[in-house]
């Protein structure tokens, strides 16, 4: 298996990475017509795909667009929060007999407060790692 990779920027600014099956020469045909490309190695492509949608082609290599990282971070925050809300949403929505709706609502408020702090931390983040760290909140 080759460790060579072909990278190029799409017209919308997103980065595509071609992974050759055998040879990079054969795989070069798979670059869309008219787009410039570079041949790099696996060392030049981030192995952390957490912010894959924020990859952009810089002057020399793949970089992260911080604005896009924050958008991704907020999407992940909403998903995480929805997952934590789920059990309490059930109690409140279905008015399950014996279940404490007030306690459920209090728990939901705690979750809201916690993720409000996460939201602020993401907005204030200066780099992708800070966004990732902000999302590592535990109930």
């Amino acid at each position: 298996m080759t460790t060579s990779r072909i990278i190029y920027s799409n017209t919308d600014g997103s980065v595509a990475v071609i992974i050759p099956a055998e040879s990079v020469e054969l795989a070069a045909k798979d670059v869309p017509a008219g787009l410039a490309y570079q041949i790099v190695t696996t060392d030049d492509v981030p192995s952390d795909r957490y912010f894959r949608g924020a990859w952009v082609l810089g002057d020399c290599c793949i970089e992260h667009d911080l604005g896009k990282c924050k958008e991704i971070g907020h999407d992940k925050r909403r998903v995480q929060r929805a997952e934590e809300f789920k059990p309490f949403d059930e109690i409140i929505a279905k008015q399950i007999p014996g279940a404490d709706a007030l306690a459920a609502e209090a728990s939901r408020q705690q979750i809201r407060d916690r993720y409000s702090e996460v939201q602020d931390a993401i907005d204030a983040a200066a780099d992708p790692d800070s966004i990732k760290a902000a999302l590592e909140v535990t109930p």
Binding site: A16, P20, D30, T42, G53
Partner: protein
């Protein structure tokens, strides 16, 4: 030494030994076999025998292999198995020149030799790295994708595939392994 069989009217057919050292004996089958049967090495190397697999003269290859009887088999024209997390890498493939990593859970499989048309079937399997409460979904080619405005691809030279989760809304998701097989 060459064995030459002269034709009835003109020309000839020769049977020749390879120009290498060593001695080999090939023993012909005991019978003439059946129509379209393939000649193969028998259970003893060098003893030729007719197999049960057949080729009908039009390129249709038939065999049993647990099907119950010998029947024409239809080929997998391309396949690839690749890692979708960490350093994305092809683990094994055939008739695939490359895969293109378009983004999270979003790849294009590029064929070495183009397919005859776009009426092929794409089988996509995904394994690992999913949220236990989510439903894993996969999309192939042109339709059925609710998450993007990107143009889709289902052509004789490439097919685009996606994997994602449905909860709380559809979103592409990286999975540990992808398998793609093309049948036609």
């Amino acid at each position: 030494m060459t064995l030459r069989l002269n034709g009835n009217t003109s020309g000839y057919t020769e049977i020749d030994a390879p120009a290498v050292a060593g001695s080999n004996t090939l023993t012909l089958p005991t019978g003439a076999g059946s129509a379209n049967q393939l000649l193969k090495n028998g259970s003893t190397a060098g003893s030729l025998a007719f197999g049960t697999a057949t080729e009908d003269g039009s390129g249709n290859f038939a065999f049993n292999s647990g099907y119950g009887s010998s029947a024409v088999a239809y080929g997998c024209r391309a396949w690839v198995n690749f890692n979708g997390t960490g350093t994305v890498a092809i683990r094994a493939s055939a008739n695939v020149s490359s895969i293109t990593d378009n983004g999270t859970g979003d790849y294009t499989v590029n064929f070495t030799t183009a397919l005859v048309d776009v009426n092929y079937v794409t089988i996509l399997t995904v394994a690992g790295n999913r949220n236990a409460t989510d439903q894993m979904v996969s999309n192939v080619g042109t339709n059925g994708n609710a998450s993007t405005t990107n143009p889709e691809t289902y052509s004789t030279t490439q097919v685009r595939i996606r994997a994602g989760n449905t909860e709380p809304t559809f979103s592409n998701n990286d999975v540990t392994y992808y398998g793609v097989a093309i049948f036609r």
